[in-house]
Symmetry: C2
Subunit: 165 residues, 2 copies
Amino acid sequence: MSISAKALIKIDKIDRNILEQLQQDGSLTNQELADKVGLSPSPCLRRVRALEDAGVIVRQVTILDHKKLGLSLTAIILIGMDRHTPERFAAFERQVGEYPEVQECYLITGQDADYMLKVVVPDMDHYHHFLLNRITRIQGVSGVHSSFVLRRVIDSTALPLGYLS
Amino acid sequence: MSISAKALIKIDKIDRNILEQLQQDGSLTNQELADKVGLSPSPCLRRVRALEDAGVIVRQVTILDHKKLGLSLTAIILIGMDRHTPERFAAFERQVGEYPEVQECYLITGQDADYMLKVVVPDMDHYHHFLLNRITRIQGVSGVHSSFVLRRVIDSTALPLGYLS
DNA sequence: GCGGATATTGACATAAAATGCCGATCTTCT
DNA sequence: AGAAGATCGGCATTTTATGTCAATATCCGC
């Protein structure tokens, strides 16, 4: 694994505006976007393509409503591993990647936990089942602490662009 | 605040397939999507519109690369409040909503913490500043525990659709 | 500050996609 | 089986994306 190359692209005020707009609403047509940032469609599209090529724009996704899909329970799980060996971690990550219920999984610092997971399931029964038959079954998992989301105060994918330039 | 209405839409196999595809890639054209799900463009678009109207499809967003934007540090912050009053919570949430660095903020269960935040900043210096001048300044914040993301094993917005039907 | 090289823009023409309409097909319920 | 309703595919029209090119703006060395 190599360190990914730094962005070799200069992001000016217009680019930043484009990114801000697309972060907020990815369904904007190029023409609408061009209007918003004060460009004509041609150069606007060219900038978007350049940002895609540079890897600044990673991809576009559709956000669904979990409640409308019967997925009412979101859990935050902190997990500790018994041994901090690369093999243990690799096995854990491989296994966790197989579970579509896991929306996020981060290796984190701290003495309390090694991994933080965000998991989405229909209800507590399903969560119980998931925890017992999926998570705790993974080799090396020694400590598990669950919290449940009572309210989503902020749930965004937008990055703060105010630090640019 | 009222409980939001349940989805009054029946999601069949094709709809589920549409949602699966769009979750994965929101930049698909209607024609590409139609091909993938085995429909002609007309009914495919009709279904997408119906899913939007029903609120199942919430919105479309563009995902950016935080590293390419110089945002190298992601922190998970667990926060405890001194008093569990609606006023304290409301004030905290209002304030946190002002900070673009906060990508996620959940009110959670558990004795250790009341809120879980995901925060994105350029580096540790900025994080230090953010914590001291933003978070700990908020009235009622009594305990703060920070963890830092070492690796993003899974970072998705996709919901598990396997529980449908 | 001047001139040239480079990059970026806007307009236009063309290709592709979205959208609306309609008759045909498939479902469902009696 | 038969009729009502829903869903489909094809087609015409409108909107959008894309590529080209000349004009303009920006940057650089002198």
